[in-house]
């Protein structure tokens, strides 16, 4: 078995100057970051994070692809997705028919992405943002009209898109989103 327990000992703190050295070390490090601070603060909403396309943000329906199968509503762990009935005219026969359509309630959604992954026709997709403010709770319960188009993203209109990239020296570095692409 490759994993093995290893008994270690706490570093000893002996000698006359041990405490002195510890203090000097700690203060030196502190001073280093006082002079050259490492800041990753996001100046929101003047700046906003441009998330990767794989990010699980708001979910949007493409009604053309949807086959009204209810899988998404069945797998939803938060009961955010539900099916509504609609009378619709069949384009071929012209007869009226009852159809089921998914709608989503963003008061409940936990952005687990199960619905997107389970949809047999990829009729649902996620947009890479989630910071949208609503004036009241009722607005968060989307109807079918809202669900079929990506929600407006007001932050993107005003803010500067930034990205965090992993850096060897500084951990995370905030860069303008365009520069972040090459990383």
């Amino acid at each position: 078995m490759p994993a093995r327990p290893v008994v270690k000992r706490l570093p000893a703190r002996r000698g006359l100057f041990a405490g002195f050295k510890g203090n000097v070390d700690a203060i030196t490090i502190g001073l280093k970051y006082l002079v050259d601070p490492k800041r990753i603060t996001l100046i929101y909403p003047n700046e906003y994070i441009k998330l990767d396309p794989g990010y699980r943000g708001f979910i949007v329906l493409e009604p053309k692809k949807c086959i009204n199968c209810s899988s998404c509503a069945r797998i939803c762990p938060a009961a955010a997705m539900r099916m509504i009935r609609r009378m619709e005219e069949d384009p071929k026969t012209g007869k009226k028919k009852m159809k089921l359509w998914p709608v989503i309630n963003y008061q409940r959604c936990i952005f687990c992405g199960y619905c997107v992954d389970v949809c047999p026709t990829e009729a649902l997709y996620t947009v890479p943002y989630h910071d949208i403010v609503y004036e009241n709770m009722a607005e968060m319960d989307w109807g079918l009209e809202t669900f079929v188009k990506p929600p407006e993203y007001p932050t993107a209109k005003e803010g500067i898109p930034v990205k965090y990239i992993v850096d060897e020296e500084k951990g995370l570095v905030k860069v303008r989103a365009e520069e972040g692409e090459e990383e």
Binding site: M1, P2, A3, R4, P5, V6, V7, K8, R9, L10, P11, R13, A18, G19, G22, N23, D25, A26, T28, I29, G30, K38, I40, L51, D52, G54, Y55, R56, C69, S71, R74, I75, P77, A78, I110, F111, C112, G113, Y114, D117, V118, P120, T121, E122, T126, Y164, I165, V166, D167, E168, E169, K170, G171, L172, E183
Partner: protein, 412 residues
């Protein structure tokens, strides 16, 4: 007549440590929490004589959400996002053993790629959770630099997890038979950079926190749990390992890829708050090693869907197309109300705070008959009762922070 409130129980257990002096009857009762910033969502009722704690009574349950009962009304896979909410910064570690239990009932084994992916996320989570613990610990004892640093550095791990899964914290990553997403193309590079960064950064952590004489003075010799007592109280995780108990679920019963990657389980024998901090510190280093190995392995092996054939072989071509384009594993609609064969299984995994155990029983329906969760924080909470007495009130935050107690996980 003086009241020897704690003495008797203490000698029964054979506990040593600072012996309190005899207490006159006028004890003060102090309620620490649940609003106290240093207590989290719990209350510790302590009785003090002067400045010495003579009795401590952890009063838990403020964030009890009846998770075990809720689980009985939800389909198997829907419990993953629920259980995640026990410890969101440790999401993969706390849910992976539930998934392993389900796999045991289903009698399937995930493919190696899925195992490595889960292990990778587990270790990313472990580092993030340890840093979270360090941050809280730091601010408990008044070291706000540590708080700021570790929360900023935790962001590196959160960023990696986000690239891997698409969510910052509640990843809902493992599914029965596999994992939900493969690594993106640029992930190995970013992960290696993060590992190199942390190696260097941890040295600075040591200088400013662990080896800082001010911190050491507050941690050394505080909250000593002797090995025998640790075994008797049944503590787990870093708390047990700081008392010299060589126990780790990854070691005792390797799951996922842990029997293939090489790492050490650091054990300290001192048993005090400082040793507990060092265990976590050393564990971060080992987690970095595992991340490196997992990323190497994933890069060396061909990209194929990290899910058991049972959920993949008969899937439509669209499934493969999506996997190739985005690395996303699509789920079969049967996942939603999959029926498990009747049976029972138990599985354990090592979370950042210790071992979590799931006992899952199925009676052939699409929902569990019973899910029993034993979470590490629930087992470690007993430390307050038996270890805190004898120390000063000032030492309580140190003890609290060093056992890294996490109420939502303990209360479930």
């Amino acid at each position: 007549m003086s009241v020897w409130v704690y003495g008797e129980q203490k000698s029964e257990l054979g506990l040593e440590g600072t012996i309190t002096r005899k207490i006159e009857e006028d004890l003060y009762e102090v309620f620490i929490g649940p609003q106290h910033p240093g207590s989290g969502h719990m209350r510790i009722i302590i009785r003090i004589d002067g400045d010495i704690i003579v009795e401590a009574d952890p009063d838990m349950g403020y964030v009890h959400r009846t998770m075990e009962k809720l689980a009985e009304g939800r389909e198997w896979i829907k419990n993953v996002p629920l259980f995640e909410r026990m410890a969101i910064q440790d999401a993969c570690n706390v849910t992976v053993s539930y998934i392993i239990a389900l796999e045991r009932i289903l009698d399937i084994e995930p493919p190696p790629r899925a195992k490595y992916l889960r292990t990778l996320l587990c270790e990313i989570n472990r580092i993030a959770a340890h840093l979270y613990g360090f941050g809280i610990f730091g601010v408990f004892i008044g070291h706000s630099t540590m708080y700021m640093w570790s929360f900023a550095d935790r962001e590196v791990m959160v960023e990696l997890a986000e690239r891997l899964t698409g969510a910052r914290l509640t990843h809902s990553y493992p599914i029965p038979g596999g994992a939900r997403k493969d690594i993106p193309q640029d992930f190995p590079q970013a992960a290696r950079k993060a590992v190199r960064y942390f190696r260097r950064r941890l040295e600075e952590y040591r200088k400013i926190f662990l080896d800082n004489p001010v911190t050491r003075k507050r941690l050394e010799g505080v909250g000593i749990i002797p090995k025998k007592i640790a075994a008797e109280l049944g503590v787990v995780g870093p708390v047990a390992r700081a008392s010299g108990i060589k126990y780790d679920a990854r070691l005792a019963e390797p799951y996922d890829a842990y029997d293939e990657v090489e790492f050490e389980v650091p054990v300290f024998e001192e048993g005090d708050a400082l040793a507990r901090a060092w265990v976590k510190f050393e564990e971060i280093k080992q987690s970095l090693r595992i991340i490196e190995q997992a990323v190497d392995w994933l890069e060396r092996h061909p990209r194929e869907a990290p899910i058991h054939d049972r959920f993949w072989a008969k899937s439509p071509p669209l499934w493969k197309k999506v996997f190739e384009a985005e690395g996303r594993v699509k789920l079969l609609p049967l996942m939603a109300n999959m029926k498990l064969p009747p049976g029972r299984a138990m599985a354990r995994s090592e979370t950042a705070r210790g071992e979590i155990i799931y006992y899952v029983e199925s009676d052939g329906k699409s929902t569990p008959y019973r899910v029993r969760i034993v979470s590490p924080s629930a087992r470690n909470a007993i430390v307050f009762k038996y270890i805190a007495p004898g120390y000063k009130v000032m030492d309580l935050p140190t003890i609290y922070g060093s056992i890294d107690y996490f109420p939502p996980e303990a209360d479930r």
